[in-house]
């Protein structure tokens, strides 16, 4: 009997296009006949992980594998509390930020509700809302490529449950300073949950950039996301966390799957937090140097570029981003196309170690000179 799924699938699932990750490195290298491949597409920190994490992972005993992890990452939450200040009951740990986004949407939204975010930002807010049957209200960035606080406030209505602010924004690297964040939170006035996604928090060195965890006492509707995938270089382990008021964290925890973060991930995240080596400072220096190299290259070519916070930059090119991505891949560099971020003909480049970026800039220039 043929399987007819059509009458079983909700329309928002039927219309949803699943994310397609790129093939594994080995497969790409085989397909393209490459001897080496540099991934500049996922904003990973290839300097990492930090020395303490390397040491921990090298000594990991097989005996931890047959045993379930802490279901609620208690030790890690305790370490987060000691390191960052809030009580451990205010932290919730997830299998990367994406799981936390899903938990927040599940906890607060039902069909007919909406979320408010930007049109040109991390796609997962929009995706999770869409495949949950929740309207995603996408507000254009302002002319400085920043989230537009006034337009977002204007979009909030009585069915708005969540507002997602990616700070700094991926992919533009723009951010709200503390005054802007506070003005937005005051404007929301508790009508919905505000999520400040600080995935790239540790990369920002600007004095006016807000640490939203410090704002939690003033704004009980605020939820702060952070991740160990970026600066801490634990992307393969998938571990992120949120911090909010205890009541809000409790509600999100009800919609959150326990045991989703494995033991090595929890251990490595603790070690990363406690590591006092100059790993973070070395990473920041690498990123600063990377920004200089990209700026010089773009200026030499006369290409528009956006260099903001975070370990990534954006470049506008005279050919389609997708064609350029294929040309670069044939030469051993994988970059992120930006048409899917609604920036047609822009690419996003992760800031890597200097020798790699020098080679990238050389190849990039050779394509246009």
């Amino acid at each position: 009997m043929p399987l007819n799924l059509e009458h079983l699938i909700p329309e928002h699932i039927r219309l949803f296009d699943p994310y397609r990750p790129s093939p594994p490195d080995a497969e790409l290298m085989r397909l393209y006949g490459l001897k080496r491949l540099h991934r500049l597409n996922n904003n990973e920190n290839t300097l990492g992980p930090s020395p303490a994490v390397r040491e921990l992972l090298a000594g990991l005993e097989a005996g931890v594998i047959p045993v379930y992890p802490h279901g609620d990452s208690q030790d890690l939450r305790e370490t987060l509390a000691r390191t960052l200040g809030p009580d451990r009951s205010q932290f919730l740990v997830g299998n990367g930020s994406c799981e936390l986004i899903s938990s927040v949407v599940k906890a607060f939204c039902e069909p007919g509700d909406n979320i408010v975010t930007a049109d040109k930002t991390f796609a997962v807010y929009e995706w999770v809302a869409t495949f949950s049957g929740v309207e995603a209200r996408l507000i254009p960035l302002d002319r400085d490529q920043r989230f537009d606080p006034d337009a977002m406030l204007a979009a909030v209505d009585d069915r708005t449950k969540l507002a997602f602010v990616c700070n700094p924004n991926n992919p533009t690297g723009t951010y709200w300073d503390e005054a802007t964040m506070r003005r937005f939170l005051d404007g929301v006035d508790g009508r919905c949950i505000v999520v400040a996604d600080e995935a790239y928090f540790e990369y920002v060195e600007r004095p006016d950039y807000p640490d939203c965890i410090r704002l939690l006492d003033d704004y009980p509707n605020l939820v702060v996301f952070r991740t160990f995938s970026k600066m801490y270089a634990l992307a393969a382990l998938r571990v992120g966390y949120l911090c909010a008021g205890e009541a809000v964290t409790d509600v999100i925890g009800r919609a959150h799957v326990a045991y989703s973060v494995n033991t090595p991930a929890q251990m490595a995240a603790r070690a990363a937090l406690l590591d006092r080596s100059p790993f973070i400072e070395r990473t920041r220096a690498m990123v600063r140097r990377g920004r200089e190299l990209i700026r010089e290259t773009c200026e030499a070519l006369g290409f528009e570029h956006i260099i903001g916070e975070g370990n990534y930059v954006m470049i506008r090119t005279p050919i389609s981003d997708t064609l350029l991505q294929r040309k670069l891949l044939r030469r051993g560099f994988l970059v992120r196309t930006m048409t899917g971020f609604r920036f047609p003909n822009w690419i996003r480049v992760s800031l890597e170690r200097e020798p790699v970026l020098r080679e990238f800039c050389s190849v990039f220039r050779s394509l246009f000179e």
Binding site: P2, E6, H7, L8, I9, P10, E11, R14, D17, R20, S22, P23, L28, L31, Y32, D119, A123, E126, P318, I319, S320, D321, T322, L323, Q325, R326, K327, L329, R330, T337, T339, G340, F341, R342, P344, N345
Partner: protein
């Protein structure tokens, strides 16, 4: 939760005794789904003739489905296929070609196919589906006068969906652009509005501070993975809207399932917007001694990490050249004659655009007579005055690629490769009349 669109389903034996039930269902469905009496009658005849055909072919149990679509109503029959000859669905079919000895069992199918506004045939495992579409009759209102304008302030772009706004857009396109770059549905604004309402066509318009229409761009999904667009139609005197409309199109489709976008009717060069020129197709038009050139502009929307494509020696070199030019990695798999059995009669689908003297043929069902069938179609269409005859195949399907030899022998030449234009890459051949 019921997530399916409204539809009527009948399960019944393929027996002429049930013709009355099918007729009554079609009549009521036609009326409820918005057809006028004359068109409802066509739907009734289509449904009846299809059942009679399936009865004569002794297909056993069948499922009939009636459902509304954007511009009309579809009636479909699905059944377990056992070599049923559907060749009467061919545009170039002539069951009486053998005189009194001709095969008249397909006559009901031929009659049904001639009363429709479109059909498709599908084969899913051993189950076959024939779907015929009857369109609503749309009035042809006198179009509004149009002139180029100077925008007041910075125009605002927004989705277009209102029937009145679309009428205005259709009028402006017809008034300001040559006929060969105006989509045929523009001549029927009601049809345009229905297509947009049903989500089969999308549009973004630009209006200035005075609410005047400054431009519009249309697009539709060509397949699950590709979008094709019409325009940009820029109604300003200085051509200031076209670029913004193209950028708006890319922003609109950039985060959808579409992986490729290309022009059906382009109004200007698009290299400055990251598009690549995929082909320049000279069109021979009835009212012009010189051909007009239709450029096809396209670009990928998502990253492409390679794929496999079937190929045939008749067009392998063309494919290699195009893939190299587009920097696309494809694993080319040559088709081979495996000696497998195919049914006798093939079926070709046809999409006709008389205003452009254009026909797009595509294979619906393979058959032993596929080469002759292609030749019959070319002959019939050329006799009917069609001067731009294309044939498209999907390189995901080995049996499509295997038609390469037949196509070359019939005078077709590969002209246009559309990456991911169908299930996989689409290759479009053009018939060279002199051959």
């Amino acid at each position: 939760m019921n997530t399916a669109a409204p539809r009527i389903r009948l399960q019944l034996p393929a027996d002429a005794a049930w013709a009355g039930l099918v007729q009554a269902s079609a009549e009521q469905a036609g009326r409820v789904f918005g057809l006028d009496p004359a068109k409802s009658l066509r739907l009734v005849h289509c449904a009846e003739e299809l059942l009679l055909f399936l009865a004569s072919a002794e297909t056993g149990e069948v499922e009939a489905t009636l459902r509304p679509v954007a511009t009309g109503v579809e009636v479909g029959f699905s059944f377990a296929s056992a070599g049923v000859d559907l060749s009467a669905l061919n545009l170039a079919s002539d069951p009486g070609a053998g005189g009194e000895d001709g095969d008249w069992t397909s006559l009901p199918l031929l009659l049904a196919s001639r009363m429709t506004d479109g059909f498709r045939v599908g084969l899913d495992g051993r189950r076959m589906e024939i779907v015929l579409r009857v369109d609503k009759a749309y009035p042809a209102p006198e179009l509004l006068p149009a002139e180029r304008l100077r925008p007041q302030g910075r125009p605002v772009l927004a989705e277009a969906g209102d029937a009145g706004a679309l009428f205005e857009a259709c009028s402006a396109i017809a008034g300001l652009y040559p006929a060969h770059v105006a989509p045929e549905w523009c001549l029927s604004p009601g049809r345009t509005a229905d297509l947009v309402r049903a989500g089969e066509l999308s549009a973004i318009e630009a209006r200035d501070a005075g609410g005047r229409l400054c431009g519009i761009i249309f697009w539709r999904m060509r397949s699950e993975r590709s979008v094709t667009f019409f325009g940009p139609y820029d109604f300003t005197g200085d051509g200031s809207m076209a670029g913004e409309l193209v950028e708006a199109l890319l922003r609109a489709v950039g985060r959808t399932s579409a992986r490729n976008v290309f022009s059906s009717l382009a109004t200007q060069p698009l290299a400055d917007h990251g598009f690549e020129l995929l082909a320049e197709l000279p069109y021979l038009l009835a009212d012009s001694p010189e051909p007009v050139v239709h450029p096809v502009w396209g670009r990928m929307l998502q990253e492409d990490f390679g794929a496999a494509a079937w190929t045939h020696e008749g067009f392998a070199d063309f494919l290699r050249d195009r893939y190299d030019a587009l920097e696309l990695l494809r694993d080319l798999r040559p088709v081979r004659d495996l000696g497998e059995a195919v049914q006798a009669g093939s079926v070709l689908g046809a999409r006709l655009t008389p205003g452009l003297s254009e026909v797009f043929l595509h294979p619906e069902l393979n058959g032993a007579d596929i080469g002759d069938n292609i030749a019959r179609h070319v002959s019939t269409l050329a006799s009917a005055g069609y001067r731009n005859i294309f044939f498209e195949i999907d390189l995901a399907k080995g049996w499509h690629a295997a038609m390469g030899g037949h196509l070359i022998r019939c005078g077709f030449r590969p002209e246009l490769l559309l990456p991911l234009g169908g299930q996989s890459d689409t290759l479009i051949f053009r018939h060279a009349a002199e051959s």
